[in-house]
């Protein structure tokens, strides 16, 4: 999208997930909220425009952006090589680490142990890519539309394993005690603000914002508010 056009319109359309707590949720009056929402608002403020937040869904995030229905995605979009072919990413503004979790009774120590198991992931998510990359022959990867459904498959016993983020798993642990534990790490994943290809001026502006928000503590504060700790090191200083 064109920076000048956004500035003259006075609003920036920002797509974010609303079903990905704690990054994207809706508050009780139905408005988008969460880590991404706070970042989005701060971004708009730094651009001197108002934010118009558009709820998007995991599988459709990129179509929203590419079709121009939104100008910017602050939608927990993990930075991956395949995605980078379609969209342009800013420097990381958030991150999660993803791992394989599963029934405490189940003995799976590494990727070889996945063979013969069913494992649920959210379709088109970073976990999906991560699990698919390491899974040996004979792994049954079951792809659901979002994290919650993947978690539901785990909780209902339809699968014994799940590829998920630390954030999601800490919530599950809060609800289920020690029924599930971590099996092995997959990767840590940084997330970037995404724009459509060719929006260089806009991207530069966003990168300025990210750098400033990291240094002045804005992102730390927001992270503290939603995830109970400051922005992790692997996001602050990505490799």
């Amino acid at each position: 999208a064109d920076l000048a056009a956004i500035e003259s319109a006075g609003t920036v359309k920002i797509g974010m997930l609303v079903d990905f707590p704690p990054f994207g949720i809706t508050d009780m009056s139905g408005n988008p909220d969460g880590y991404d929402a706070d970042v989005a608002k701060a971004l708009a403020e730094s651009m001197g425009v108002t934010a118009q937040i558009v709820p998007v869904t995991g599988p459709n995030r990129i179509p929203y952006l590419l079709s121009g229905q939104v100008d910017v995605l602050v939608a927990s979009l993990g930075i991956t090589a395949e995605r980078a072919e379609k969209v342009d990413f800013s420097n990381p503004y958030a991150g999660i680490s993803i791992a394989v979790y599963g029934d405490s009774g189940l003995d799976v120590a590494d990727k070889a142990g996945l063979s013969g198991q069913s494992i649920s992931v959210a379709r088109a998510s970073t976990q999906d890519t991560g699990v698919t990359a390491v899974a040996p022959e004979g792994t049954d990867i079951m792809r659901f539309d979002d994290d919650a459904t993947a978690v539901q498959a785990l909780m209902s016993g339809q699968v014994k394993l799940i590829g998920a983020s630390n954030v999601v798993m800490s919530q599950i642990a809060a609800a289920t005690g020690d029924r599930f534990n971590k099996k092995f790490d997959l990767s840590s994943q940084v997330q970037g603000v995404a724009v459509a290809p060719g929006s260089d001026a806009l991207l530069a502006k966003i990168n300025d914002f990210v750098a400033e928000a990291k240094s002045d503590g804005t992102l730390d504060a927001i992270h503290e508010k939603w995830l109970g700790e400051p922005l992790p090191e692997f996001v602050k200083n990505p490799k």
């Binding site: 599988p59 459709n60 990129i62 179509p63 590419l66 079709s67 395949e82 995605r83 072919e85 379609k86 649920s120 379709r123 088109a124 999906d128 079951m142 792809r143 659901f144 539309d145 459904t149 539901q152 498959a153 209902s156 016993g157 339809q158």
Partner: protein
């Protein structure tokens, strides 16, 4: 302006083709089983046995007045809680059968009721038993009378089956979604998927027309 690039889609046509096969297989199985459920439901509804009729009524009303999406969630995520656990593909078929069975019950009941009383009386007057009358006099003309509604319900079922990817069952739509997850060529994929579903619908219509010609082709009364 967006650059259309169908390359990734055409490179993976085999994947989509396999997805289409899965959709065809799933739909066919669901249609056959659904037809059986519908027949049983319709017979139960037209029977004199009150509790049976009542039971079928509850089944039909609950299914017809809630979205399929919710139904499939219950079957896949809910039933394990009571010890019934199915693979996604089985759960999808079960959900489709239960769904189409409810609509089919109503359709076939209407078909049975469309048979003129004179036909049944003629059967009685010839000394046929109620079961024989149903089997030889009622079934075929009843199916013929409601054939268009029944087959469009079947095609609707095939189209509805595109949501089974929510429980990670494998079909055409989920093949498209997987491809989408790898290539992000969303519009191209959705466009091709839409065309493929349309072709499937045409294919099923052709099949149903052929069945009609072969099994229900007796001349209509004037």
């Amino acid at each position: 302006m967006y650059n259309f690039n169908f390359q990734p889609v055409f490179e993976n046509l085999d994947l989509l083709g396999y997805g289409a096969l899965l959709t065809i297989r799933m739909s066919l199985i669901a249609m056959v089983l659904g037809l059986i459920v519908s027949m049983l439901g319709a017979v139960a509804k037209t029977s004199g046995i009150r509790p049976l009729r009542w039971l079928v009524d509850v089944y039909v009303e609950v299914i017809r007045n809630t979205p399929f999406l919710i139904q499939i969630f219950f079957i896949f995520f809910g039933l394990p809680a009571v010890g019934i656990s199915m693979s996604p593909d089985t759960a999808a078929i079960v959900a489709l059968v239960i769904n189409v069975g409810a609509y089919g019950t109503e359709i076939i009941r209407a078909g049975i009721e469309s048979i003129p009383g004179g036909q049944i009386e003629a059967g009685k007057a010839l000394g046929l038993s109620p079961v024989q009358i149903f089997r030889y006099v009622v079934v075929k003309p009843a199916l013929r009378n409601i054939y268009p509604s029944l087959t469009s319900q079947f095609i609707y079922l095939m189209l509805t089956s595109s949501v089974v990817s929510v429980i990670s069952a494998n079909d055409l739509a989920s093949a498209g979604a997987d491809l989408n997850a790898r290539t992000f060529a969303s519009f191209e994929i959705y466009l091709v998927l839409t065309v493929m579903y349309f072709l499937l619908a045409l294919g099923f219509s052709t099949l149903f027309a052929a069945i009609r010609r072969n099994f229900f082709s007796y001349p209509a009364s004037r």
